[in-house]
Symmetry: C2
Subunit: 211 residues, 2 copies
């Protein structure tokens, strides 16, 4: 389709721009409320003092998430899609024009909460991180496969709720690996901080690889 | 746009067909994993013995949900959208051709898990029921308003998890009412059954109004 072709062209421009600035970009994807913003908050608490981070927030309405992120004194831009169910590369291109990309170590893009459409729209990122929560059910990789197919990392969030839900961690990983065998997993709770260190270490590694 | 116009025409055909069969149809909408299928299971346990119910399941992939529903010995059809992020009226028109609509008291349509796009596609239903879970955050009505604007009923599910999440029931209702003042609420747990009776009573009332 023509729409995706145009998007891919702009995504390629973004990717070249990010490479020229030596900047690693992550696209955070999930269902609504899986914990993207909460995970970003925990991450900024740990890293914002030592590294130069920025965030692009994508939502149908409100700048609620950008306000939450702004509390951590990092540059943040809110993109309002006005009904659009996913971010596109041109929106990201406009948003990052607000940042001095050369000065940044990592850029996070929090996509619109939607486990379907955002999988089809390359934004120029280096990593697609899909976040699922233990409260959504372990079958999500089977039922919404395109998102897991395009992701490189899968964060399983809200592990503090495991005692109260029907969710089997190893089965969920198996289902996700069935869709994308190379997926790298992080199991954590953005609320309690359990399992967060491995995620933070991985991010620091990304920064070190792109000094 | 032309796509919505064509969809609205078929939805009108569906609606006329359902009215001729004296059949009340509900469209269940939510984020992935909010508990649509679980709520249907609890509902069928209570009502399938006394009334003639049927279900249309919509998913990107798998017939997992239809298999869960089939255990309750009600007619069920699985629609696979192959990547489509929402059901459309023509898919529903084809699916219900499998049922003897005159013989049914209630028809449930479980839409694809997506809090954005399904709001734009009329299927011919009488009621749009949006289900949010306490684990997604109380801000969903503000951040994904179109879905709440078109719904008549809002079910707040997973109230058994309230002690473990940041979710204020009255604030969530206030946010949703801010988008759609006439929303009718049910607060329940599809896992423990708490609050389910009011939902079941409401459904029985719908059946009685359409003998
Ligand atoms: N118990 C528990 N709750 C969590 C955890 N992470 C997030 N939450 C809660 O989940 C709800 C949604 O979290 P958000 O971070 O706003 O989710 P999001 O993915 O950014 O949501 P959208 O941007 O609206 O799609 C909030 O009530 C959080 O407090 C966790 O690890 N454990
Ligand atoms: N604790 C708790 N868990 C629930 C409740 N309702 C559903 N669940 C769990 O939530 C997960 C998802 O439930 P489903 O009914 O499959 O959700 P769904 O909305 O049909 O999901 P999709 O069709 O994939 O979009 C499962 O692990 C259920 O056991 C509830 O009231 N309380
Ligand atoms: Mg968020
Ligand atoms: Mg389901
Ligand atoms: Zn979409
Ligand atoms: Zn859609």
């Amino acid at each position: 389709r023509k729409v995706l072709k145009k998007n891919d062209d702009i995504a390629a421009e973004n990717r070249a721009r990010f490479a020229a600035a030596n900047l690693t970009v992550l696209n955070l994807l999930s269902s609504p409320g899986a914990g993207k913003t909460t995970l970003l908050e925990r991450t900024l608490e740990k890293l914002a003092g030592r590294y130069r981070l920025a965030v692009v927030e994508g939502d149908v309405q409100t700048d609620n998430d950008a306000r939450r992120i702004a509390r951590y004194n990092v540059p943040v831009v809110q993109v309002i899609t006005r009904g659009g169910c996913h971010l596109e590369a041109d929106l990201v291109q406009d948003a990052v024009a607000n940042f001095n990309l050369e000065e940044l170590d990592l850029l996070f893009i929090e996509n619109v909460g939607n486990l379907v459409c955002p999988a089809n729209y390359d934004l120029g990122e280096a990593w697609k991180v899909v976040i699922i929560s233990t409260t959504e059910g372990e079958d999500k990789p089977l039922k919404y496969p395109p998102m897991f197919r395009v992701a490189q990392v899968c964060v399983i969030n809200k592990i503090d709720l495991l005692p109260y839900v029907d969710f089997n961690l190893s089965r969920a990983r198996e289902y996700a690996r069935g869709i994308q065998p190379d997926l790298q997993f992080f199991e954590l709770s953005a609320r309690t901080g359990e399992g967060l260190d491995a995620w933070i270490d991985w991010l620091e590694n990304l920064i070190r690889q792109n000094p």
